[in-house]
């Protein structure tokens, strides 16, 4: 029972003015010190009934041998009393259990003497009439707790003889708490259905909770941090009225990825070092033929007010299949589709999906990443409109220095007019990677910790919800 001695202890504290030491209390209550410590702890858990300050003190304690001596007398005293007036043969004395040590101590105390000339071996005689067993007396004093009457020299002497040892005692200085009382009610640990049913909870006192401890982690799944950020970007675009483009086509022809965007066929981005080409299926075969002819013409001869690039445009180069290097390939398909409508309608499009680059990899570059793209097509859009919408978008992101994370611009007429879009329609667009703002947001330096199988699942488990603007 944890409550053993609690009431007795409280009564003791009630009487003490400045408080009481727990060791002292134990001896006064006649119980083991541990019982008092237990009582202190259980009282502490009940609130501010008592105050208890931990302290430590040193005191002397008799060893097992010391206790035996306190009871039976020191070895030398026992030797003295074992020797009768007529003396005792030394060999007989040595047979006694305390004989050897007692003999030499009694000799050095000059309590006894040895006559070596006796017949039948040396014989021991008393050399004084009586003795005072100081060792025993000192030990008894210590045992009674009156060790303070002894000098340190004595204690050290006894310690050397392994009769005494110095021990450190941890104790409490116990005083009255602010809500001190000598009567306590037993506390309940938890509310139970029975208490609710009977209403007994009203009378009961409940053990306080330890609010310092951590709770039990819930058993749950987690969304990936990059995908959480993707969800927020989708949300921002949807809030701004942008419709999502179908970007579920990683394989693209060079035609839609480059040529349709007026990217010349010798452009470095179309190099083997930058783009993943396919060996199977290596080529695309179906293109809108008349549009393809217009693209070919604007590259090789110009037109639509453009000088063109004046080079020999080759269908073979446009047919080459690749892993798309940007989602703008999808934007091109969408804008072409838009141009085929009987009547042009303004659109706002967005997408967030994977793109691929055959680049050298490092801590911030992977061969694939997610591109975020926004496109607006309408009559008479201006550079001011582009800057305005970018401002709105990045304000929603909570990013002040957006210049560094993205690219933006106005699509060229050489791209739009061959598609068949009206001449006075402008298309503004911007793009950025999903990974870069996510790494900034979560303070991740190595992209591999975020994307791919080397992800740190603990990071995923511990991830916060994503609020981009906070």
């Amino acid at each position: 029972m944890a409550d053993t001695g609690v009431l007795e202890l409280l009564r003791l504290i009630e009487k003490a003015d400045d408080g009481v030491d727990s060791v002292d209390a134990a001896s006064r209550l006649g119980v083991d010190h541990q019982v008092v410590v237990g009582a202190v702890k259980s009282l502490q858990s009940l609130g501010d009934i008592i105050s208890a300050e931990q302290r430590s003190s040193k005191h002397w304690e008799l060893t097992e041998e010391g206790s035996e001596i306190a009871k039976q007398g020191s070895y030398e005293a026992r030797v003295f009393s074992a020797v009768p007036l007529e003396g005792l043969a030394q060999s007989d004395l040595m047979k006694l259990p305390f004989g050897k040590i007692g003999f030499s101590k009694a000799m050095s105390n000059r309590w006894i003497k040895v006559d070596k000339a006796q017949e039948g071996g040396p014989r021991v005689y008393r050399s004084v009439d009586s003795v005072v067993d100081q060792v025993r007396e000192k030990l008894l004093l210590l045992q009674k707790g009156s060790g303070s009457q002894l000098e340190d020299k004595d204690k050290n002497e006894l310690k050397k003889r392994k009769l005494l040892s110095e021990v450190t005692v941890k104790s409490y200085w116990i005083g009255k708490g602010n809500s001190f009382s000598t009567t306590i009610t037993k506390q309940e640990t938890e509310l139970t259905p029975e208490m609710i049913a009977s209403g007994s909870w009203k009378e009961k006192k409940f053990k306080p909770y330890n609010f310092e401890a951590m709770g039990v982690a819930p058993d749950c799944g987690h969304l990936h941090p990059l995908m959480k950020v993707r969800t927020q970007f989708r949300q921002i675009f949807l809030e701004m009225g942008f419709t999502e483009m179908p970007t579920n086509n990683f394989i693209e022809s060079s035609f839609w990825n480059f040529d349709s965007l007026f990217q010349p066929q010798q452009h470095p981005a179309r190099d083997q070092h930058d783009t993943f080409f396919l060996s199977d299926p290596a080529l695309s075969h179906e293109f809108p033929q008349d549009y393809l002819e217009r693209v070919k013409r604007v590259h090789s001869e110009g037109g639509y007010g453009s000088q063109g690039y004046m080079y020999d445009w080759k269908i073979e180069e446009a047919q080459k299949n690749i892993l798309r290097t940007h989602t703008t390939a999808v934007s091109a398909r969408m804008l072409y589709k838009l141009a085929q409508q009987e009547k042009f309608t303004p659109v706002k499009y967005f997408s967030i999906d994977r793109v691929f680059r055959n680049e050298t990899l490092d801590a911030t570059h992977l061969a694939e990443f997610h591109q975020i793209e926004g496109v607006v097509a309408d009559y008479g859009l201006t550079l001011g409109d582009l800057m305005g919408i970018l401002h709105q978008f990045f304000t929603k992101l909570g990013l002040k220095k957006w210049v560094e994370v993205g690219n933006s611009g106005v699509f060229r007429p050489e791209m739009l007019l061959p598609m068949g879009l009206p001449e006075d329609v402008s298309v503004i667009a911007w793009g950025l990677s999903l990974e870069r703002p996510t790494m900034i947001k979560y303070g991740i330096n190595n992209i591999r910790e975020l994307v791919g199988h080397k992800v740190n699942l603990q990071m995923v488990y511990d991830g916060p919800i994503c609020r981009l603007d906070s």
Binding site: C220, G221, H222, L223, H224, L226, R234, M240, G241, F242, T243, E244, M245, P246, N248, N249, F250, I251, E252, Q266, P268, F276, L278, S279, P281, A282, S284, H285, G302, G305, S306, Q307, Y309, Y311, D312, N321, L323, P346, V347, N358, T360, L366, A367, E368, V376, G380, T382, L383, G384, D385, M387, I389, Q392, V410, R412, S426, V451, H453, V455, V460
Partner: protein, 571 residues
């Protein structure tokens, strides 16, 4: 974007940064040779290097006129109204006939085009000479596409005599002393010699397999160069060279002209008649005139400036412009240095730069639209939330992987996978696009073996499959995959997740309109522990306990069950 490094001008760093921004450039870094070397090779190697401050500037990829100090300073001075844009002139030599470059028909087989020019009475200093060589190298790396499209050769005209001939000959018939060598080599020998040259070996492939190699020689047969590989030693230029003969040989004539114009316009300021040069039998160094309206500029930029003001803005950008007086018409003269200006929209962009992007008022497009989600992505978004709520954690793996990942390791043959193949992967990690999400999840577990069990992971993402019906011959397929990894296989957990998923997708258990699973054989799974998933009569995927060989091949040690299914049938 190209890095451009040049020496400090008489401006503070902040002022220079501001000037670059105004001019549409980005000051990337302020550094020094010492700092660069110390960063790349350590402090001890850097102690000898110069600590003169260098600016690193990002230049738009098509602004070749800003690639050297001469062009950049000229551009900035015009921009700050400190200098009027120079007018580059083609002139005839004071005495004698202009030089001629004869192109023979044999060149058609290997490198069909060539243009040339002469810079007369030029004065080089060490700095000018270095800049001249550096510009040549930068052009070679960029617009010349590592010499494959255009190669530049520069020669001391006073060591050779025209007319010059650009022809093509079998390698054995070409013999000359190449630059910085002491003896003559045949072209065939040169190709062997340069196989081990750290710089030149990268260009050999351009002509290596051709029956004839291009060569330029003078009237006496002295070889000037064997483009695009090496020049002759005879005509090499040095600091004392007075007259420079520049030839550009090319696969693309337009680019050859741009490159030649760039070389001569940038360095003609060091000629005795500044900005004058001598083009060899060519009509190039052309100025072009575009006519546009100030209304066009105002409308596209979103400003409202007078015709005269816009003409002034353009003139600051080295595009000499005048208001013609006919309405709001502006005539813009595009100099040969601005090969990037090919449409009125490029002129509009320069007007916007000169006006200052920060001065343009930000407006909101009035475009009214109603937003729609892509249905497949909407389904994905909603399902992901509930799968996490079901206790599974989302993984995100690469779409590209090795053949081994999707075939051998899963106990399959690559021919049976419908995988698309990449022709130029740098490593095995990029051989194919994944045809299944399972390998990615197993690799994620392998990389997180220290985490407490069970590991419950899922991914919803696209795989790529060959599909003849598509214009590109392949299509994406949206998949859902989940794995359970623990001390016991936990088939019932994965099965339970399937039931929950079907509940979320509103498909009830049942064999006709609902879903059910049926025992199946699959080498990825443990025999007798695999089932096929059918929904509304259609097979949509599989689930089961993985085969121990599969577990071992992914460096795992515990039993594992998995589920993978198509999501598109549930749209």
């Amino acid at each position: 974007l190209l890095d451009f490094t040049f020496r400090r001008m008489l401006l503070s760093d902040e002022e220079f940064d501001e000037l670059c921004f105004e001019f549409g450039l980005e000051l990337d870094e302020i550094t020094s040779e010492k700092e660069i070397i110390s960063k790349e090779q350590g402090d001890c190697k850097a102690s000898e290097a110069s600590d003169i401050i260098l600016y690193k500037i990002d230049v738009p990829a098509n602004r070749y006129d800003l690639l050297c100090l001469e062009g950049l300073v000229r551009g900035l001075q015009v921009f700050k109204n400190k200098l009027e844009a120079p007018r580059y002139r083609r002139v005839r030599p004071a005495s004698g006939e202009p030089q001629k470059l004869i192109i023979t028909k044999e060149t058609a087989a290997v490198r069909p085009h060539a243009v040339a020019a002469v810079l007369r009475n030029i004065t080089f200093t060490q700095e000018r000479y270095d800049s001249f060589i550096e510009l040549q190298e930068k052009l070679h790396q960029n617009i010349c596409r590592k010499r494959s499209l255009v190669a530049i050769g520069t020669h001391d005209l006073d060591t050779i005599s025209g007319p010059f001939t650009f022809t093509a000959k079998p390698p054995a018939q070409i013999c000359f002393k190449p630059l910085n060598q002491t003896k003559e080599y045949t072209a065939a020998e040169l190709m062997t010699l340069y196989k081990t040259d750290s710089h030149l070996r990268h260009y050999l492939h351009i002509i290596e397999d051709k029956p004839v190699y291009p060569v330029i020689h003078d009237r006496n047969g002295i070889v000037l160069s064997m483009p695009p590989i090496i020049n002759g030693d005879h005509s090499k230029i040095n600091l004392k060279t007075k007259n420079v003969f520049i030839e550009c040989t090319a696969m693309d004539l337009t680019k050859a002209k741009i490159v030649l114009d760039m070389m001569v316009t940038m360095f003609s300021e060091y000629c005795s008649q500044p900005f004058s040069l001598f083009h060899v039998n060519s009509r190039e160094l052309a100025y072009r005139t575009e006519t546009l309206s100030s209304d066009f500029i105002n409308r596209k930029v979103g400003i409202n400036e007078s015709t005269e003001k816009i003409a002034q803005l353009l003139t600051k950008m080295c595009l000499k412009s005048t208001a013609t007086g006919a309405g709001d018409e502006i005539e813009v003269e595009i100099p040969p240095t601005r090969s990037d200006v090919i449409h009125a929209c490029d002129i509009m962009e320069d007007a916007a730069i000169a006006y200052g992007f920060n001065n343009i008022v930000r407006t909101t497009p009035r475009t009214y639209t109603v937003a729609n989600q892509f249905p497949l992505n909407k389904l994905t978004e909603l399902l992901r939330q509930d799968l996490a709520a079901a206790g599974f954690t989302e993984a995100l793996n690469f779409a590209l992987c090795s053949q081994e990942d999707i075939a051998d390791k899963l106990g399959k043959k690559i021919e049976d996978t419908k995988a698309i193949h990449i022709s130029n992967p740098k490593t095995a990690e990029f051989q194919v696009a994944r045809t299944t999400l399972l390998p990615g999840l197993l690799k994620t577990i392998a990389a997180n073996r220290k985490m407490p069990l069970p590991l419950k992971l899922f991914e919803i993402s696209d795989v790529v499959l060959k599909d003849q019906k598509k214009d590109v011959g392949a299509r994406n397929s949206r998949r859902f995959c989940a794995v359970y990894y623990s001390k016991s296989p936990g088939f019932e957990v994965i099965h339970g997740l399937l039931d929950r998923t079907m509940q979320l997708l509103e498909v009830k258990p049942g064999s006709t309109d609902g879903y059910h699973i049926r025992a199946a054989e699959d080498s990825t799974f443990f025999p007798g522990r695999c089932a096929e998933i059918f929904a509304r009569g259609q097979s949509v995927g599989r689930l089961g306990v993985l085969h121990p060989d599969v577990i071992t091949r992914f460096e795992l040690t515990m039993p594992c069950s998995a589920l993978e299914m198509d999501l598109e049938p549930f749209l």
